[in-house]
Symmetry: C3
Subunit: 337 residues, 3 copies
């Protein structure tokens, strides 16, 4: 629980209203009740400002006039909300030590300030640094490294030699460092290419549930600091993702693609291998990226949703497009003066 | 093993043939042998009725004439088949108690009629109700609740505070209640928004292998009773899915989308966040849904598969569509009388 | 570490240069250093041959002239590289026995030459054959069979009765034999169809991280020998995949589809159920396959990536395609002589 005076000081916010008012939970503008703090980050919800029952609201200067509630006026209400929520809901995973059901190899190196959870496995040569939290059912493979204050929530698999930075979060079912899909075709049969590279994750990387990041074939797969990956994402071998790029769920990135810094990639987009995406590029959901993108901007592909009957009619015509274009050209020529 | 007389009584079916004939396994019409019971649910396979070697077949009234086998005549053969198969193949997971390798926190509450499997973890404050089955390698997080007769098959991760209803089935690798993808951008760097809501699953929900359902950001992600989710599905934070909706594998639903009741969503469809889908809506496979759907119906998007050479030609023309439409209009104007 | 003379003999290669030169690691042409062996498989990188610092390079006869390094001249440099890398980086998982934290049911049958890893579970009736490696956190369900020298890396779930061939590799989070998505609709509510078939994996199958292969509804799901599956793939119930087919990440194949031998399926493609794909068919990334393919070839679907502003314009026109085609036809008729 915090007083608004205390929050104002921590945030460097301008306080409008009662400094002694106390908040102990977060809420949406619409569902807020006494004791809650909320925020306005999207103008779409501004109409709720007048009726919200929140004890306090985080707003920007432009929305600070004529409020019925206490307010903390900040530069970016959403960022301020993130901070306040983190203070109100601190992580409860603060233990240190090794659960008696965990299997920690005698040749592993676990900092006394780290936590190794129930039923987890730390293999030989692995290193778990100070303040790291290895949740239940996780496996940290041979010679893998888990950076300080990094959190493996549960049932995470870290394959051998992977290096995870500090202050990372890996959600359940994430798999780091599995073999990439490397195959040579020997007269019709596939021969496995040993995948001898590693995965390197920078600091403050977040990896969603059941997301997979393959180890490099030769050389490493690299995810730079501050990259945020949602759930069920596939990152192929030797992909490189630049710092502070965010990728939504279901995206697949094929081997050796090089994604820039500060990119935003929408859900279920697919990116082929061996291409480059410029820094600051945005790709919208479900887009298919077959070529390099050299110029930052917003890129899209995909067709419109239609009533099934209409879709069927247009679907058939898509096979005739080139023919239609040629016939159009022919007509234009006929009608030239 | 059941006699047909017994099955007829249980199903309320009309029996044609030998009441003492016994069946002990299921089969397809085509591969059936003595002792098997099969069904005709799709007219496409009606031709096999004449030659099937099944001991009995479940059929509707309209197919009950002139059969060479015993028959149970029912309103809906596929539903009847589901029932018969459940009787012939009862679940074998009927134990109660706690496996000696499981880790159950002293502050967890496990009903004596529940089963806690090998290498599983039940954290503090969790509740496991009567008849629930926690399979091997599962993690039930802090203050999570598992309803009566719910089954976690294996290696399932239930994050803290999630509430799972009764008679649910969660397949291996499912992740319930991981953090949603909530980020605020603070001058180029991503700040994590604490995800303080929960996941609420109604009764009789089925969750496929490696499917992920994220916890709410503020407020809860809600999956109503009877919803069936296939494998590798992504459900974002604060999504609401209405009762008895079925969703095929690979679908991704972004945050705060509201899906109606009795919907059917085809494999690999993508649904953006903050939209509404009306009850009884069908969306076909791989569709991209960018806007709300207010009128029930069947909706589709996506282009036709073609020989690669043809596809390349038409692919190029898709970038010229607007131009083609304008040129077509120009020609039409020229030719107006 | 190997001398080039030794490698030449093992590979049946022609050696150009110093037979006593020794190599102990692999590298790319570009990043190679002393002691490394590399390869040229893609003409695109031929320019690096002149400057590589590798101790040896695997090349085909046509590239063997005028090299500055030692060379091993082989029929297929990529296949030869696969072999050399396997010799230089042998698997380190060669243990036999049962880790003291593993739970092996008294009625399971584990070959003394197999390894059962930490925190793993082998249920009643399961069979683990000679040289198999069950990694940490894996679950092998009732009556499942794991073939000789097959490797479950970590946190793999093998459901009851699944049969895994010899020399397979299953990466972390893979789920074999979960229930298929079988439902009958009983007046608006879904009734589960018991899934009583199995999964059968042939020899030398590789299954990627978090990939799911569902058990058959009736009868089995069959993956023939030498099939290679990348990560996050969904294989529905009763799918049949022919030998030596390779499938990239994110693909979903619906129930009862029959995929031929020696096919190649690109990432994130979707294949509907109950269709057939001919042997030797290639399907490019993100394609939507709604019908059987009877003739081998390369098939594609999907639209081009565009700058968002252009895409929006063309996107709208896709709904007008059938109309445009009809109007074009009308104009052509008007202009017929």
């Amino acid at each position: 629980m915090f007083s608004l005076a205390e929050l104002a000081e921590r945030l460097g916010a301008r306080l409008v209203g009662d400094p002694d008012c106390r908040v102990d939970h977060v809420a949406t503008l619409e569902d807020a009740d006494t004791g809650s703090i909320t925020f306005l980050a999207n103008r779409k919800y501004a109409r709720h400002l007048a009726t919200t029952r929140a004890s306090a609201v985080l707003v920007s200067e432009s929305d600070a006039e004529g409020l019925n509630t206490n307010a903390l006026v900040v530069r970016d209400p959403y960022v301020a909300y993130a901070q306040v929520a983190a203070w109100l809901y601190p992580s409860r995973d603060e233990s240190a030590g090794i659960h008696n059901s965990a299997c920690v190899d005698a040749d592993a190196q676990v900092d006394p300030g780290a936590w190794i959870g129930a039923q987890s496995v730390i293999e030989a040569g692995a290193v778990v640094e100070e303040g790291a939290f290895i949740g239940p059912g996780c496996v940290v493979g041979r010679e893998a490294q888990i950076g300080a204050h990094t959190r493996l929530v549960a049932n995470v698999s870290i394959c051998s030699q992977s290096r995870i930075g500090a202050h990372c979060i890996l959600h359940p079912g994430a798999v780091i460092g599995a073999d990439g899909f490397g195959l040579a075709n020997d007269q019709g049969q596939w021969v496995k290419i040993p995948q001898v590279g590693r995965v390197i994750l920078g600091d403050k990387v977040e990896v969603g549930a059941n997301t997979c990041i393959d180890r490099g074939a030769i050389g490493d797969t690299v995810i730079e600091e501050g990259v945020k990956l949602d759930n069920l994402i596939q990152i192929g071998h030797n992909v490189h993702i630049g710092a502070h790029t965010a990728i939504a769920a279901g995206v697949a990135i094929a081997g050796s693609a090089h994604i820039g810094r500060h990119c935003a990639i929408g859900g279920c987009a697919g990116i082929v291998g061996h291409i480059e995406i410029a820094d600051n590029t945005t790709i919208t959901a479900m887009s298919m990226v077959l070529n390099s993108i050299h110029k930052p901007g917003v890129y899209s592909s995909g067709g419109p949703l239609e009533d099934n009957a209409n879709w069927r009619k247009n679907f058939v015509r898509m096979k005739q497009l080139d023919d239609m274009a040629r016939r159009l050209k022919t007509l234009e020529k006929k009608l030239e003066p």
